[in-house]
Symmetry: D2
Subunit: 148 residues, 4 copies
């Protein structure tokens, strides 16, 4: 399992690495703090998933992949966002590319925008890479399949 | 797997029996057509599940278990309800008891009211008997577990 | 102001007549108890309006205009519906026509179906006759205009 | 009518002053771009009001009153927010106080937080100052009263 390319982790004391989380199902919510669908739909869903499955071998992560308005969504703004939106899971900052357009993880995975959801199974295989909000029933179904 | 006690099946040409459905996950949505939570939340969810998982070994059934206002929810009204709410799955009428209060399947399963959701796994074991509407993520999770 | 053509009033001790309500703004929610949009959107809105404006010169009425599935939505079923959906305002039964298709008030007002909302101002002029659910902001705006 | 205390107007070519808008009903949506209730409920409502009443003598304004996380919600971030959330009405930046805690308009009006809605009638009297999201029906009612 190749890892996320991250400049910094927030909201966590531990070093996070997808490899170290092997054995758990991992959801990576790729978002921008000024993306309406992320803020209105995906981050609330991520918070809910994190609470509902706290007892399961499941880890929710955020990945802040800024590909536009870079100056508007810097680390200091993201920290306030995490606080205000009561995000309790670790959030990574996707590493900027030299040219400062699309960040490196977003480019590596050929993501089309935000929100995007990545889901890895317990052995680290990428089982879902979906652009756009994922329906609750479908998401629950995927998690039930991967955790059983 | 003990079966539902039914006076009549609607919305189906086939004879339905839980035993004959063995091999499929079965959801039985127990409802009354004049129960607000059933009409506003559970029946729309049942319709959605039926469409989403049409390709899976999953069968959605309705069970109309009238325990109050019996004269208001007779077969003729139920038939119109099924038509108007675009219910596409088979619906059973829970068999009235002699005393005409709680119908027989509802009594047999000690249900507390409607909506109630029963879920059987592929070998016919009852895995869920829940009074009240079931959250979409949780329901998806259960289905993912049972179908994988 | 010509009146509704009614076979019976339910959920009220008083005789109701639009003429006798002159001086109040009157909302008539025309519905069928098995019409999904009525049950999911319009009746809850009607209940909310009735509670919000209890102190105002405003009267909410229901009109049960059955134009299909007549045998499925008889008085006894409607009484149970009113109880289960916690309808607190008077509900009239639109008088059946001889041919038993479209009932008489529905025909008189050339309504296209249910839900339909009729709104009369304080002097009894019909200010709105709208087929389909009315948006909350727009409805509030109309009431604010007519009550000020 | 005393005016807003503003350091800068965004999203407008014209100079905005409440006094110059006399003759119109004015809604001032006081918000912070990282306040969840503002982003999820109030800004979408403001956008809707602005579209619905484009033909009426009604002006929607935003007031960005930052009282916490000041470094996270600077002008550059607000400009991106306005773009991403498709805000089409003028937005003022509430003028910071010397001590940099609560900004000046927020203090002058003794606001308790965000979202807050201020509504002025056509002659410039403040008719509503409400902390928290305002229900659609109630808001429509107020607008109907003030515009009729």
């Amino acid at each position: 399992m190749s890892d996320l390319i991250v400049s910094k982790w927030l909201n966590t004391k531990d070093e996070i690495s997808l490899d170290n989380l092997r054995g758990s199902v991992i959801l990576v919510y790729v978002f921008q703090m000024l993306c309406p669908a992320c803020v209105i739909a995906s981050i609330p869903q991520a918070n809910k998933i994190q609470q509902m499955f706290a007892q399961e071998k499941l880890q929710v992560l955020g990945l802040h992949s800024v590909f536009e308005h870079h100056d508007a969504m810097k680390e200091q703004s993201l920290i306030a966002f995490i606080h205000e939106f009561k995000v309790k899971f670790p959030v990574a900052i996707d590493k900027a590319s030299v040219s400062r357009g699309i960040p490196q993880t977003m480019e590596k995975y050929s993501m089309q925008g935000t929100p995007t959801l990545l889901i890895y199974d317990k052995v680290g295989d990428l089982k879902l890479r979906r652009f756009g909000h994922v329906d609750d029933i479908e998401l629950g179904f995927i998690l039930g399949s991967l955790l059983s």
